[in-house]
């Protein structure tokens, strides 16, 4: 039932924008409106105004329990990378890992969580800061085991770095011990903490100095 539309006048365009936002158009007219939306910024602006104008009706949508579909969504968006490469073990040397410290951490996390699968010890000689991270099941736990809180007006921010990729923020640390949903991670990925302006790096990329870092290891 596609209608022949007279869309020359501003009033008609405005009405079409409202009809599109309302959702009353049939398939053919709706598809045509969507095409136009992509190539006509003026029309897109009209749609945006109607979207805002009618947004008060959104309060009428009641919340409904939603299952946690994140695992499926993330599996679709972030396919697992290839297994970690051995050259990352070279990087370990620089971080001065000792077998004794590693064994100590295993014992430490065995007491903390049921089934830790990976851990990392985040250190830096200059800062005196030390963090212990463990990933168990769906959770990543990070504990500050040495050093002080960030200076006033600053925050520590945790990042995960896949080899040869940009760091991805896991959030700003606000307590000595934090637990978050486990990120996609493999042995050889590096956890790093930077000192950022309060609230975290404004553009999602680290801006401050790395105050502690260490690679994830299988236990």
């Amino acid at each position: 039932m596609t209608r022949t539309r007279q869309t020359d006048t501003p009033e008609d365009d405005d009405f079409l924008a409202a009809e599109y936002v309302l959702g009353v158009l049939d398939l053919a007219d709706r598809s045509a409106a969507e095409d136009r939306l992509k190539r006509d910024p003026n029309f897109a602006a009209l749609v945006n105004v109607w979207q805002n104008r009618l947004s008060g009706l959104n309060d009428d949508y009641a919340e409904a329990p939603a299952p946690n579909l994140l695992p499926q969504i993330e599996a679709r968006l972030f396919p697992q990378p290839a297994p970690a490469q051995r050259r990352w073990f070279g990087a370990l040397v620089g971080l001065a890992f000792s077998t004794i410290a590693a064994l100590g951490l295993i014992a430490f996390f065995a007491l903390q969580s049921p089934d830790p699968s990976m851990f990392a010890s985040l250190t830096a000689e200059s800062s005196g800061l030390r963090f212990e991270a463990s990933i168990a099941g769906n959770e990543l736990t990070l504990i500050r085991s040495g050093g002080a809180i960030a200076a006033p007006g600053k925050d520590y921010e945790l990042w995960i770095i896949e080899p040869d990729k940009a760091p991805v923020s896991l959030g700003v640390l606000t307590a000595e011990r934090v637990t978050i949903a486990a990120p996609v991670a493999k042995p050889g990925y590096v956890l790093a903490i930077t000192l950022e302006p309060q609230g975290g790096a404004p553009e999602g990329k680290p801006t401050g100095p790395v105050v502690a870092a260490g690679p994830l290891q299988n236990i």
Binding site: L25, R53, G56, L57, N58, E63, G171, P183, G199, E203
Partner: protein, 188 residues
């Protein structure tokens, strides 16, 4: 997410802040926005699609698009939640139209059933909602109901006309006049 704070009021719109972080590929922000908004978006999808299995499928698709399209969000053009709900509504309505487009849709019409009236307190907390509701009150009752039902459930012209037992062109005229009145009423 205890002990972690993603943002400290960069704007007065925490969802917009999360969207901006997602645009910068921040996966933690993506998880946070799922935690914060999935129940509301599930409510939207369920109301329009009227079927939980399809709504859950749509929810996956919507959040996939949130990740892929967050860079198109512009905080100067509207609130983060408005953008998210528009994304969810558009996807659900596209599904509804593709499902079938020729006959009156019993499933969709059953889903039109009005929910319980909103708590007054919620409206007071949302000046925008109160204003649109006041403007709806200036419309004739059946026209206001047609408009509201269309928005909330994505009902097509064809089904609206059947539901209100008027010819399709009459329904179109109703909506056009009602929308015009609504627009004038809401203009500052």
């Amino acid at each position: 997410m205890q002990g972690l704070l993603y943002l400290r009021a960069m704007t007065d719109d925490p969802i917009a802040d999360l969207l901006q972080k997602i645009a910068a590929q921040d996966r933690a922000a993506f998880r946070a926005i799922y935690a914060d908004t999935s129940a509301k978006l599930m409510g939207v999808l369920l109301r329009i699609l009227g079927n939980r299995a399809e709504a859950e499928d749509a929810l996956q698709e919507v959040f996939t698009r949130v990740w892929l399209r967050a860079n198109r969000f512009d905080a100067e053009k509207g609130r983060g939640m408005t953008w998210l709900i528009a994304l969810a509504r558009n996807h659900a309505i596209d599904r509804l139209r593709s499902r079938h487009d020729t006959s009156s849709d019993d499933e969709a019409m059953n889903a039109v059933a009005d929910p319980a009236p909103r708590a007054e307190a919620r409206l007071i907390a949302h000046g925008e909602a109160r204003r649109i509701n006041e403007c709806f009150d200036t419309l004739e009752a059946d026209k206001a109901a047609a408009l509201r039902g269309a928005y909330l459930t994505g009902t097509s012209y064809l089904d609206l006309a059947a539901q209100f037992d008027v010819p399709l062109n009459t329904m179109r005229t109703w909506l056009r006049r009602s929308l015009q009145k609504l627009k004038e009423c809401m203009e500052p």
